[in-house]
Amino acid sequence: MAETFGNMGLILKLDMTSLSSTTEDATPLYKKYLGGRSLNHYLLLRDVNVAKVQAFDPENELIFGVGPLGGTLFPSSGRYQVTFIAPLTTSGLGDANSGGAVGPAIKYCGYDSVIVKGKAAKPTYIVVENEKIEFLPADDLWGKGCNDTTEILKARHGEDVEVMLIGPAGENLCKYANIRTKLTNSLGRSGGGAVMGSKNLKAIVFKGSKPVKIAEPEKFLELCNNLQKDIMDPDMGPIHGATYELMSKYGTPGLTRMIGQTGMVPIKNWQECGIWEKDEELDGPGLVSRWGMKRDACQGCPIHCHSIYHVEGKYATHGGGPEYETTCAFGHKCLVSDGAAVLKMNTLANDFGFDSVELANMFSTLMEWYDRGIIDASFTDGIPMTWSNADGVLELIPKIAVREGCGDELAKGPYWVGLDLGEEALKYVYHQKGMVATGVETRSTIGAMLSFAISNRGSHHLSGLPTAEWVNNPSVAVYVAGYEEAGDIQSYHPEAKSNLVRYYENLFGLPDSLGICKFTYGHAGFWHDSVENMDKFWDYLVKGTSYATGIEYTKKDFEEIAERSWQMERALIAMRGMRRVDDMPNWRCQNEECPGDHPVGPIPLPKIDMEKFNKVVDQYYKLRGWTNDGVPTRAKLEEVGLADLADRMERYL
């Protein structure tokens, strides 16, 4: 293996069935697949029969990938990505990204990626200490919460370890269990925790002493210093400056009012939207001024968007976060306005190892079903699921984690419970591909609607929520999409909206493949004040990666890697049967308008105009080189260097 810079050179493969490990040379893969998410796609498609394998089959793999900038001085480089076949989504694409310090810790052990396959006979955890791999019994840890387990493993294996683990939700195969690390970070959505549980794997402990070598240290140092200054510089522009100000002081809950401007904040399980009269109880300042202790950051990040909170009284609790996604989902969607109760829910979700978005949406959906008489209190073991019933939610969370009583059914998630209850119930599940949306009212912004509907993993903002649309800066809209209409929130301009969404889908794939945070690099408002800032941002990404790795990358290389990565993801879900019908907006978006209070955009938000929307989808498919049914064509796959994949895909169409 050649000496590597930025990257570590090896992929670690852990087999839970035989309790053994091997390694693979990763160096030939960097130029074509970069690392992280993109490399994960390649490995999953290569190693797993993705058309047939089900989430809890031992053949399923959990692939953790970091990327060449992870664990370096590059700002916001504490992230890593997991890819797998998912239990939650109908598309089967399991994909999640997390901050914290586990991504860097994987690299300090000498690996770019870690693959876990097979199934252990009994509860097990793994200690990776550079080249030394130990599979140890986890019987005494099974059933324990994430916080206790982390403390025990740190006490057992030393000061300098990072721990990635599941809680009881994952052990008990709750479909929306996540993979946790520390107080504040999760590989959150689509059920990776349950896949880890199905392999009888409680935790992986990383104890590494290797550094990430940098090819051009002096240039890299200078670039990182300048980049950090720019991220924190209010003179970069009003949008950039406001984003840093809000994120660094209050984290994502600080953005609540900003998001609500266009009606994008969902309220009462998507029956209302926009500005809520209780916003101040749950937005960043409201939480931080009453319960915030200090700021908390992922590794290498100058933004420190997490808060450490401490609550005394009825909802006494101590924890980290929360995200807007959690405050919006437990708060706005369930009409719980008591911030202390929402923080307690956040702590419980984290300690049990739940994706807090899907968990909270389970409750908001139950509340609407209860309100409409689709279920009564007997469905939830005698607890009436009335709006704002915080105590009811807190009582049910532990039952779901251990699948006791109604918890056994609720552990399937809102879409699957709705499916069991019938067509009427399913109408009120605000999902795409079986995964309920994050805190975005998609009727507010047509680009967002397109992105959420066609997203390969299900309904969420991280696949390509187009920043240029909601910040509404015409020059940047033209820069990214070629049309000013891209920045018009209610426009159905087919070319503008297709170009826009494709741009952000590809852009968001890059941070995930480099080991850095997409909030700093594309998703939040940073860099979006001007075309000059956008150019500067691209320059930082491309040069930073080249200085770190010593591999010459260009912006064009990055665009090609991102496009290839997206095509692989789409081929995967096409092989699992996903077609155009699965890319259509959910029932509520197609059939109901949404009342609300917000300064920008129409009130009520109109339902999605399906005739116009279908024209946007037609154009989007054309732009991606897919058939009219949303399936990648052979010609397109060959064009992006995936001829092998075209062969395999055709066998399963």
Binding site: G71, T72, L73, P75, G78, A101, Y108, N147, T150, E151, K154, E159, D160, K182, L183, T184, G208, S209, K210, P211, V212, K213, I214, P217, F220, L221, C224, N225, Q228, M232, M293, K294, R295, D296, A297, C298, Q299, G300, C301, P302, H304, I308, H318, G319, G320
Partner: protein, 168 residues
């Protein structure tokens, strides 16, 4: 010795940018194991404290070093390990009360903070200002005020509106 590194655990967000910058400047590579500044963490509490060498006036690391590898830089006041002389016996690490000297696998020698010739990289890199390089004479004054504030914290709370924070 006129300046020292002072850390503020309340301001520290635990991002470890200090570790990345320190290791990059000293080794051209990024990794906590190569850093002379280390962030200690209480995971469940979410508390982090950056820790490094305090550059003692009467350093027991120097006393313990039998090869004479540890000497003081008279300009910056930093205790420096001369790696040409160090034999990697690890005595300095064993006696240091704050865990500052550490064994570097990369060079099979001991390493510790050298104050970067009087312009510490960690201080420049810290995005929250939790790591400062200040005149030793100024430290007790600040600490006096911190300590006194604790004694009258109830009173300060009551008089909060008459005592708004002042931007320097």
């Amino acid at each position: 010795m006129s300046k020292m590194i002072v850390v503020d655990p309340i301001e520290c967000a635990g991002c470890r940018t200090c570790e990345m910058a320190c290791s990059l400047v000293h080794h051209g590579a990024c990794g906590p194991a190569l850093s002379n500044m280390r962030v200690v963490e209480w995971v469940r509490l979410g508390i982090t404290v950056p820790m490094t060498c305090l550059q003692c006036e009467d350093p027991i690391c120097m006393e313990a070093c039998k090869t004479g590898a540890i000497t003081r830089n008279t300009v910056t006041g930093a205790m420096i390990i001369n790696q040409d002389v160090c034999v990697g016996c690890k005595m300095c690490m064993l006696v240091c009360p704050v865990g500052a000297p550490h064994y570097s696998v990369a060079v099979s020698k001991m390493e510790k903070c050298d104050l970067c010739d009087g312009d510490p990289t960690c201080v420049k890199a810290c995005p929250t200002g939790a790591i400062k390089y200040v005149d030793v004479e100024d430290v007790p004054g600040d600490r006096r005020r911190d300590g006194a504030s604790l004694l009258i914290s109830d009173m300060l709370m009551k008089l909060k509106e008459y005592n708004p924070p002042v931007q320097a």
